[in-house]
Symmetry: none
Subunit: 243 residues, 4 copies
């Protein structure tokens, strides 16, 4: 071997060639997953922008605008969400078995989507939007691109956080039966959550927050009851139902 080759910077040995080939492969793979991530992020940003529009519409509910009118605008966006989730599913379909590899990239947007759909559903039916109903509304096919249970549950907690404000503003506007209805819903929901053995994580923390929503709504219900506003309103509320 010539003396020039004895230093640490001798020309690459055969091993190095393999090493270079391996890193060349890695570069392609990392670039591919990088550009995949960009495609996913771009759809996730579109989802976020749709949820902002829906939130703006739904804010009017706190100003006592008629529910159907408010909901119509927000519900008009569900079809757009459906298309965006279909895009996401299409992207992930190219990478079988890697849903959970990238799932952090649309997680928080999906939690917001669930909270909005569940709020709309509650305003319409006074019942909880079920997990399967949420998947159906978003056109998700659970066998290939479903709604992760934890994201669903976190979204439901987010919806719960909005209910005290809704109750306060409804009472202000003269709807004294609202606290009773929301309290019934939240009580059932809280009891259902308590059945779950939650790990010590983000979901558990969000669920722990739900008891403050419950307490706040209880206090409003107490306020209307103690003032004798609830009873009359019950009658009124029922008449309202019959209309």
């Amino acid at each position: 071997m010539a003396s020039g080759e004895s230093g640490p910077h001798a020309p690459p040995s055969p091993t190095v060639h393999t090493l270079e080939r391996q890193f060349e492969d890695f570069r392609h793979q990392l670039d591919d997953s990088g550009s995949l991530r960009e495609r996913i992020r771009s759809v996730a940003l579109e989802i976020e922008s749709v949820t902002r529009i829906m939130q703006s519409s739904l804010l009017l509910i706190h100003q006592s605008r008629p529910i159907p009118e408010v909901l119509e605008k927000a519900k008009g966006q569900i079809i757009v969400l459906k298309e965006l989730y279909s895009k996401l599913a299409e992207i992930i379909r190219e990478f079988p078995g890697q849903y959970y590899r990238f799932h952090g990239d649309w997680r928080s947007e999906t939690q917001t989507v669930v909270s909005l759909l569940a709020f709309i559903h509650w305003l319409e039916t006074e019942s909880l939007l079920l997990h399967s109903e949420a998947e159906e509304k978003l056109g998700l096919n659970p066998s290939e691109f479903g709604l992760d249970i934890e994201e669903y549950l976190i979204g439901i907690c987010f919806m719960s956080n909005d209910l005290p404000r809704y109750v306060v503003n409804q009472v202000t506007a003269g709807d004294y039966d609202c606290p009773r209805k929301v309290l019934k819903f939240l009580t059932d929901l809280h009891a259902a959550f308590r059945m779950l053995n939650l790990r010590n994580d983000f979901l558990r923390k969000k669920f722990d927050g739900m008891k403050y929503d419950l307490r706040k709504v209880e206090e409003v219900y107490y306020d209307v009851k103690i003032r004798g506003l609830a009873t009359n309103e019950n009658a009124r509320g029922e008449q309202g139902d019959e209309q």
Copy 2:
């Protein structure tokens, strides 16, 4: 409607039954994934305990014990690792397409495993343990339970962090050719990593640290060169290359 039913604590309505059924399902699913997680964690803990045994054995390398003797003990554990990864693969096989859902639970242990295997491999061959070689040593089948590229690369960075100390102790023990060999290896490795477009994350941070390893080894090589100690060793190194 009976008065008892108008309060928020009325007996559950049909809707609630569905809600309860859904949460009953969730409870089973969360319990299942919780116990799955425990099974995974228990294997991961065993892997961690094996890597601690290997680390203890390899520490003797810094005390200039003969390499073959030191390696024999450490290499004896590879078969145990192989069994543990086979257990992990078996568990994950029950949950197709969810490798990345749980992969955080064995991530850091696997990075350590890679760093140890790569260090052993370098001591034996003075070349980089390739990704495919690492998978082979651990008996991994890439199509169902492979070695994530990022974990492999982080493990290689960890190995690089051990090299300056090794070089220092080898020179102390009179092996003046070691700096040249390690420097050649690290220079090639560093150049190969630079080909990758790393995102601004943990891997990038680890790679940024590699340049300090490189600099430290350069300084040791400088020390032996300036004292004229390297010359004879170069000859020995060349003989080694010719074998």
Copy 3:
């Protein structure tokens, strides 16, 4: 080459002279911008001290002192602010195109100024102090030394943070129409902010806080409504509107 010149501490070569001349220039420039900065900071400190006087005066509003009396004292300082901003503009005029180079040095003081002017304006008119009105009050000439939009918006958020406390104290003092008026103002303001695509920065964080102000005011409005206190006040409020 003489031996004396071969050491690292040989007399300076011609190159060094140029190097020294360059650093001599830098020293002058850095000293100049340093003393400029001191001049700016000294004016900014005067502005801060004026805002402290105004804040002290405005605090009396929470003790139900008559609004005109409270405002008179605070408004007396606006002429001082005007002079100080004129000083700032004069200093910056010497450094054309460098407004944004130094603008961090009076930023937070200006945010406070905006929040105070906007609160005074609201107390007088129940409407938002517009950006152009703020510039006019401060005697700013937008073409040479304007009010940065982001500072204006942050100042408005700061003012919003003061409103819940004001509402609480007004109700305590028997002004039951105040919550309705503030709620109307905050609802419109919040909706207007939502039109903006805020980047993920300080302004966005401040705006996110505004929804807590809104919620708090809604709760006070709820309290007066549920106690039947708001009704008469509504009439008073309308009379006020008709003036």
Copy 4:
């Protein structure tokens, strides 16, 4: 006024219309400056990618490759940098007087550019790249888009950080005169920086680090001197120059 208008959610008053118009204006302005920022960031990313290429080329200097060969590759990128800075200047030309508003968006990239140009310049001339020379190489017109003095100075500090490693590797490769030359340069540079009254900021911190570079190079110079390598090497070095 009709009773429906007395609530906080009455239809918008004329004031609100102006408020909405103002926020509409703001939205346009914030969107404009947002998209401007994206254009700037995209050029800055291209600059960063060019500096990475240059760094990769210059790394070979530590492996004792012939300087002219190494520099040729790196210098080939300067023309690309020139084009990119011309693009930046063109963008900023649309926003007179706002250089410093956006200047944070290309700051760190420019510091790296200066450090690379100054290192190349030193390898070629053993003298400091002056501020005016850096502007010239980058085709900057100081009257409209110059090189901020602080960025220049920070870039020079970054270059200084690379010198100890260069000296170590040069001595390893047998160039025993390198420490003397680098020490002379760093001593002069350090003395020149000491003339400046630096504020207590990033630049001052970077400059404080320069004394460690100086100390390290002094130690290498001491090593070669005490072993009698410097004197002989000086002679040898000169012969080398004559080749």
